[in-house]
Symmetry: C2
């Protein structure tokens, strides 16, 4: 991400583990020979399974540490095609227009703090997709029925300035580890339709966070208009 | 509902059919001999199945026409206990404090136009419930991924003055038939916790509207604090 004035900008792009699995709906939009871009690929948790299916996969992440992890776990597996892992900023992707058939953002937007960057990222995904290409997004939903998350959204609002965002601390050191955002359906839908996509598929789901909490989740597929 | 200054107040309380079925989770909160209040009971679609289970059921609705329908469909079925159907305003229920073990609002709040009345209705349900009594709510959720509903919410906002509310017209006459509200999770949760309840159960669901559209839905159980 580009640098921001807010104090936690340094932690954006760090390795934020997640337990959200790739939803099988993605295979409705993939096909033999298709080219897939995994945006915010982290340790390759999504890129590698897609490569094992035989697809041509590129994974980008701003964090070189997780890219090394992705490369080494790739070596230990029997990929038909080795994914191309590259350092890259999701707001300025290092690819030409209309390169990919499918783009994937698996629990990635939750780590993007600013609304403006989220919009830039979706427009950039749109740019590198071919016409009628698909953008698959799986991400966390605001979970107001959970007292834990309700209180986090409310208590952290003074700092985050955005409803649904909250601060997560390192359990050992007590230091601020990262800021995350949970989306409303309206937010995710408008993020897509205002930045070049039509909503083609939408599912409410339940995800498990890295700390083991059950929260709302969305699986969304947008089609480039 | 009590009279309101808005122009559609006259249509509130009319017979608004729905296809939302009673969720089986309710039977986790009922028990032999329990007393159930069905608020906005309409034609008895919920009261009668509950009475067939042997529970002592009271159904209230402001609309006498639908109450007659409830009474006659009750006669044609073999209820162990005949529900008591009574005309009543959900904001001023004709029952003493702490009368019921369980209260039910099945696709009822969607028909209540004003936020203030919704809060009054929840407080009133709380009043007539026994301590630790349960309020079951099933209602429609805002469905932003549907282009049809997205456009209705946005286009009708100038008239309804509340996001998620929309106007429904009679398909034959073209006249305004009713105003309905679709909720956000946050709205429903705060409606409960600000008016005497803790959220005990929450489920995202998919409902079918009377016009056959698939929309988001919520099944929520609150516990009187």
């Amino acid at each position: 991400m580009e640098s921001q004035s807010c104090s936690w900008s340094k932690i954006e792009g760090k390795n934020i583990p997640t337990t959200v699995e790739l939803d099988p709906i993605i295979y409705k939009y993939t096909f033999s020979g298709c080219r897939i871009l995994d945006i915010g690929c982290a340790n390759g948790k999504v890129s590698i399974p897609l490569a094992l299916h035989g697809y041509s996969v590129a994974g980008v992440d701003i964090n070189t540490e997780v890219l090394s992890m992705a490369k080494s776990s790739c070596k230990s597996q029997n990929c038909l095609q080795i994914p191309l892992f590259a350092k890259g900023n999701a707001t300025i992707l290092p690819f030409a227009d209309a390169t990919f058939d499918v783009a994937v953002m698996q629990a990635f937007l939750t780590t993007v703090i600013s609304k403006e960057n989220r919009a830039r990222i979706i427009r950039e995904a749109c740019r590198v997709l071919k016409p009628q290409g698909h953008l698959y997004i799986a991400d966390f939903g605001q979970t107001w029925h959970s007292k834990i998350y309700r209180e986090r959204y409310i208590n952290d609002l003074a700092v985050t300035k955005e409803e649904g965002s909250f601060l997560a601390y390192d359990q050992k050191t007590g230091e601020l580890a990262y800021v995350a955002h949970h989306f409303t359906e309206k937010e995710l839908v408008f993020l897509l339709i205002e930045n070049g996509f039509e909503v083609e598929y939408f599912k409410n789901d339940e995800f498990v966070t890295r700390t083991g909490n059950q929260v709302n989740g969305f699986v969304v597929v947008g089609r480039k208009e």
